[in-house]
Structures are given as C-alpha cells and as structure tokens.
C-alpha cells in the first residue's frame, strides 16, 4: 500500500482526482462543489509534504494561502457578495499575497532587481485573479481554465526541476479534471463560485511564481500560462451540449499549457533526476 502511495502518479494524479470527485459530488447540494479543488490539493499535500508550518518556508506559505482562500471563498459565496468592493479586495489580496510569500527571496536581492521582480509578481497575480474571478459564474469555463492552469503550471514546474511544485500544480489540474468529469457524466453544470476559483487563483499563481524564483522555470513561461484563464472566456454557441463545450474549452485552455511546457522542455530538458 505504501509503495502505491509513494508513487508520484498516485500522489498528484489519481488521489487528488478521487478526492475531488467525492467532494464535488458530496457538496453539490450545498452549492459548494468548488471545494473539490482544495480537497484534491490537500490530498497531495498530505501525501508528498505535510501540514507543518515550521519553518515557515515559501512553499508552506503557498499552502497556507490556498487553505485560507478555501476558507474565505465559501463565506463570500454564501453571503452572496459580488460587488465591486469584493472584486477589488480579491485582486489586492492576490497581489499582497505574492509579496508576502516571496519576501524572503526578494529581500536577499539588490533593490532594483527586487523591485522589478516584485512588480512583475504582483502584476501576474492581479492578471490571474481578474480573469479567474470573472469565471466564477461559469462552471465549465472555470473548470477548463483550472485544468489548463494546474497542468500547465505543474508540468512546467516539474520540468523546471522541482518535483514538489510540479506535483502540487498537477494535483490542481487533476482536481479540476474531476470537476469537469462529473459535469460530462451528469450533463449538468456543478456549482462553481469563488469557492472554486479563489483557491485555484492563489495556488496556481503562486506555484508558477515559485517555480520561477525557487526552481528554473523561465520567466517568459508565465505570460503564456497567464493566457489560460483568458482563452477560457471564449464564447461558445449556446446550443452546444455541456460535453461539447467542456471538450472545446479544455482543448483551448490546454493549448497554452502545452506551449509553456514545450518551452520549458526546450530550455530545461527532461524531468528531474
């Protein structure tokens, strides 16, 4: 059993997929299917890392941000707050999170370099948060964007020599895959909301940045990955069945992910040894 649980494909693929399937189905009646994302992610954290926060490293801060987003987002959804103030708050939260998480790296650099990197990180997080937040009312598009972002960020991080960041990213892709799978099988959209998009925004955004700063992900992969939530907004004919929409949007969302992975593979080579 332990051999199975130690296998990377189980840890970051099968286990989060199963956890997300169960969670999405169980919580759909409460309109909290979006918890599938954090359920899948936590399963992988449990299998490949731990929930200890000492020492408080960058990776542990990222995990904490994901958990915090998963607690705050349902509260926003349940209180049905969708005003401009909430959107600004989410955007500001994402930008601040980037600075807070990566401060230990930034403060070791010369001021001009730290400033350029800090501004770049904040802009990246704001971009991801704006476009992901707009998807919070579109379960199919949000699922496709999540699958693309998770797989893109995870596989890129894996090739950029961090298996840990890679596995954490891929688990998000697997969880979103489970979320889409239920919609394909049931032919009905699941509840989405910020319960789904907010943890995804924090985790995918911060894991991508961590892969640049802590591993060897080329920075120019980030704009390609940032295109994923944008292409998921592409309007599709209304008369298309959910299954057809899911397939079309998944292909669209995975295309930039593949492009980013190809770029890393060209520059960094194969998976870590």
């Amino acid at each position: 059993m332990n051999d199975w649980l130690n296998h990377p494909a189980i840890q970051s693929g099968i286990a989060p997929l199963v956890a997300a399937l169960i969670t999405a189905k169980l919580f759909n009646s409460l309109r909290l299917s979006g918890l599938a994302v954090i359920a899948g992610f936590c399963t992988t954290v449990y299998l490949v890392a731990d929930f200890h926060f000492e020492p408080f490293t960058v990776v542990r801060k990222i995990i904490l941000c994901g958990l915090a987003a998963a607690i705050i987002a349902p509260l926003i959804d349940l209180t049905a707050r969708n005003g401009r103030f909430i959107r600004y708050l989410i955007t500001a939260g994402c930008g601040s999170a980037a600075l807070w998480v990566f401060w230990p790296i930034l403060h070791q650099k010369e001021t001009p370099e730290a400033a350029i990197q800090g501004i770049g990180m904040v802009m990246y997080m704001i971009w991801i948060s704006i476009f992901m937040d707009r998807l919070s009312t579109m379960p199919i598009s949000a699922g496709a964007a999540g699958a693309g972002l998770g797989m893109g960020v995870g596989t890129s991080a894996l090739l950029a020599t961090s298996a840990l960041l890679g596995q954490l990213g891929i688990s998000l892709g697997a969880a979103c895959g489970a979320y889409l799978l239920i919609q394909i099988l049931s032919r009905k959209p699941l509840s989405c909301g910020r319960t789904f998009t907010l943890p995804l925004t924090f985790l995918c955004g911060l894991i991508g940045l961590a892969a640049v700063l802590l591993a060897k992900l080329p920075w120019h992969c980030l704009p390609i990955l940032a295109a994923i939530p944008v292409v998921a907004h592409v309007p599709l004919p209304r008369n298309w069945l959910p299954r057809k929409k899911i397939i079309a949007l998944s292909i669209l969302a995975l295309a930039p992910a593949f492009a980013a992975v190809f770029l890393v593979w060209r520059e960094a080579g194969g998976i870590p040894v």
């Binding site: 130690n6 490949v48 890392a49 731990d50 200890h52 000492e54 020492p55 490293t57 960058v58 990776v59 230990p104 790296i105 070791q108 020599t161 961090s162 298996a163 840990l164 960041l165 961590a210 700063l213 802590l214 591993a215 060897k216 960094a268 080579g269 194969g270 870590p272 040894v273």
Partner: protein
C-alpha cells in the same frame, strides 16, 4: 648540571603555558569541502559535495579549547550531474534561493591529548537548527612546505537525518540518513 637542565625544562614548560594564546585560523576554500553520501532507493549511494565553504576556527592547544564556524553555500552543491544538482537546489531539497547558506557553529571542542577529537555544535540548514557532533578522524598542524605558512588540516565525519531539518521530499526513496565527511585546511591568521 642536572639542576640547569631541570631549570631549563621547567622554564620552557612554564613559558609555553604562560604565553600560549588562542590561535585564529581561516579555512582555505580550495581545500575545504563538505561531502555527503545518501542512499538512492537502497540500490546505491549517491555522493556529492559543496564547492564553496568558508569559515574560521580558534585553537588553543595548551588550554585545550577551540571554536569553529563554518558557512556552506548550498547552491554550490555538486554531484557531477547538472540536472540532478538543479533538482537538489530546488525547494524539494536544499531550497537554495530561500536558504542560500548552511552554517555550523561549535559549542564545545573535546580534546584527546593535545589534539581535538570531536566538536559539538549546531547545524543550521533550511532554517532549522539542530545539534550535530563532528568526529575528527585526522588532525595535523604544521608549516606548509610549499608556501611556508602555518596551517592546520583535518578530516571530520558526522551523521545527520535530513528529515530533522524539514527536508522530507522523496522519503524514503532518497534516504533519510546522510553521512557527512568534511575535509578542511586552514591557514593561521
């Protein structure tokens, strides 16, 4: 005559104890390398070393005291395979962007006769500080025949568990027990 010899001998002994002072040494980075060995899935042992290490030590052989401080630049890890070294620098293992240095500071030096035999101290790695004892297997001080400078050299070993420092990725495939061997040479300041 025997009184004179006795006087000279006692004077020499007395003066050595009176005037022996702690001597400061600075490690020579070209001859100071911490090496490590770790099991790879139980099949073989992977060896590597850190190419950049600096530090100082103080030695007082007469008083049998000493102190040691070693700073290892973790990004200088070298196992002979660049791709593996990149992986070891990542957050999976040494997380060198966040923790660029590992340090060792002694708390006590134990002597066997007039030479240090072991060093008790604290190793700080990945932001975690744990006690680690270095066993000194060889120790020699003298004059370098090439440059005529006074120097000391030593080999030391230690055993640590990487999980003690929060380095838990890929356990148990990549072993938890790490064998450390440090080759060090230092010139007198």
């Amino acid at each position: 005559m025997s009184r004179i010899v006795l006087f000279v001998l006692s004077f020499l002994l007395f003066s050595t104890q009176l005037f022996a002072a702690p001597e400061n040494y600075t490690f020579n980075p070209e001859h100071t390398y911490p090496h490590f060995a770790v099991s790879h899935m139980g099949f073989s042992t992977t060896h590597g070393r850190f190419n950049k290490t600096s530090g100082k030590f103080i030695l007082d052989q007469a008083a049998k005291t000493g102190a040691l401080e070693l700073v290892i630049e973790t990004a200088s890890i070298d196992t002979g395979l660049p791709k593996r070294d990149d992986h070891l620098r990542s957050p999976d293992f040494f997380n060198t962007a966040e923790f660029p240095k590992a340090t060792y500071k002694s708390t006590a030096v134990k002597f066997n006769g007039d030479r240090p035999a072991s060093v008790e101290g604290n190793l700080t790695l990945l932001g975690v500080t744990k006690p680690v004892m270095l066993t000194i297997t060889t120790f020699k001080c003298g004059v370098n025949p090439m440059n005529k400078k006074t120097m000391c050299g030593a080999d030391a070993t230690a055993k640590i568990k990487r999980s003690d420092f929060g380095m838990t990725f890929s356990l148990p495939a990549v072993g938890d027990d790490i064998a450390l061997t440090i080759e060090a040479e230092a010139y007198k300041d």
